[in-house]
Symmetry: C3
Subunit: 212 residues, 3 copies
């Protein structure tokens, strides 16, 4: 994030890597569901983890973050290989993944919005960029696995990401709060909202799928 208007505070840097690992694991588990081999695990895991940030950077005209920060790829490699080795022993609907992802989603949404505003985008564009950064990796993951992207069936995901981006913009750019405090509040609130959504979603899987 060396091109970011704001340097990411140390705590959030580690949160960023945790979110990355959760997304990489989600990609590897998707590869497991499709019975791919190690190459598929690594590729889908990497794409799931860095896809959203890549779209964000390309759309805004920033250099693509992972091409400057090799530790991103190292984490993806380690996580996806670990999942491959552990797959037979892993529940494919790992709950901890949902929670790590929920933390990361709020962070990606807020960082995406911040990067957009730093590139002189309007608030609505910034919210969209936040949603793309938070949801883009999962969308590409599902497209590669030949599924309809799961978030397109769960409004609560994109909507929560949008709410997080709106909250961050409100706190930092309208309210005048400092970067770190705005980030903490936005990420915490998004996480809480998503926690409700997870519990809600788990009880309503694909409820809306009905014949056309």
């Amino acid at each position: 994030m060396d091109d970011h208007a704001h340097a990411l505070p140390v705590f959030f840097y580690w949160l960023d890597l945790l979110a990355l690992a959760a997304l990489a694991a989600s990609g590897a588990l998707a590869a497991a569901r499709k019975n791919m081999d190690i190459g598929g695990f690594v590729l889908v895991g990497i794409v799931a983890a860095i896809g959203g940030g890549t779209l964000r950077d390309v759309l805004l005209g920033y250099p693509v973050a992972w091409t400057r920060q090799p530790e991103y790829l190292v984490i993806c490699l380690v996580v996806t290989v670990a999942v491959y080795v552990a797959t037979p022993h892993v529940d494919r609907r790992e709950t901890w993944l949902l929670w790590a992802d929920a933390l990361g989603m709020g962070l990606y949404a807020a960082i995406g919005a911040d990067k957009a505003l730093a590139a002189d985008a309007s608030p609505l564009v910034a919210v969209s960029t936040g949603v793309i950064a938070a949801a883009g990796g999962g969308i590409i993951r599902d497209v590669l696995c030949n599924d309809i992207p799961v978030i397109l069936h769960k409004e609560i995901y994109a909507t929560v990401a949008a709410a997080g981006a709106v909250l961050y913009i409100g706190l930092h750019d309208i309210g005048g709060l400092d970067y770190e405090t705005s980030l903490i509040i936005a990420v915490t609130a998004t996480f809480a909202l998503r926690a409700v959504a997870i519990i809600y979603s788990l009880s309503l899987p694909f409820y809306r799928l009905r014949p056309g």
Copy 2:
């Protein structure tokens, strides 16, 4: 289009927004066919509407248009939410959509070609860029909905877009006609060609699909 070699005349600016609305509606109707929720409607609608222009700008190295023009997103939001609310009362094969899309296709093809030439691309690259701008949004829409892109089964779409781009280049860059006149002629001719194609296509849906 502030980075465009040619400023878009006022009449075409409104035509551009109409085409955008038609594409957003096509995305929302695709979401309806897949029984998505409001989040899916908005996301697929936005991607269908701005996908082609985004590809065009990224490929040519322009700043991405919609990140500079927030009214694009506003229109997508309004249209997709309106379709969501109206869905039970809407015929999913709305004919007016085809006609609005036909108008927009010619415009996107010509603008795409013009932007490519302004970036010093060769005429063949300019025609390809025009086709990508005209067809890219629909292709991404169908990929997200886990369908084979519909235009890959209907030659008449991509071919008409290519013809429109060729005509524009011929009139403006070879024939020396001014920008606005070239645009009017190219868009009108593309619309007429597509009108024939629509009537033809409607009578031959998926005719070419036969066992391999």
Copy 3:
């Protein structure tokens, strides 16, 4: 490749065009399997041929190669139309395609790695860029055809591309060998490895696909 750190030697320029033609043909054959029309042949063929290089250039911030080199599109057009005309007489699992593709894969992997290093990327990023350049076109081709990308089931493809990129980096950037010699050795070694992989793969098609 005018923005490339290294100008491509003449021999490799022709190899590059051969690889491009092989990829375009693979796209056209994929279109044939899905019973597309001439428009689908051309579009899927072009995307298969230039997709990997486009991703590479966009990720690294280079101008997109095919927008500067119109001969790329000419070759794609000629090849895809030729396949369309010849389709009924062509075995859809043409072996020569696999061999031409194997030559091209090594070249794309090495060039992708070289371009990344020239953009000051780390070796791990360079290897990833090489894999993306070598495999990206085929992945997009399969996504457009609504298939799970074939290389995600055949580790041996992405792994061979990665090995080729590693070898090139080792020879040129660590070993200090000159560009042309490094390229010849890396491409030859990748081809040999892939030749083994092809024979191995052909005897194990989709063997790993088993119920979850």
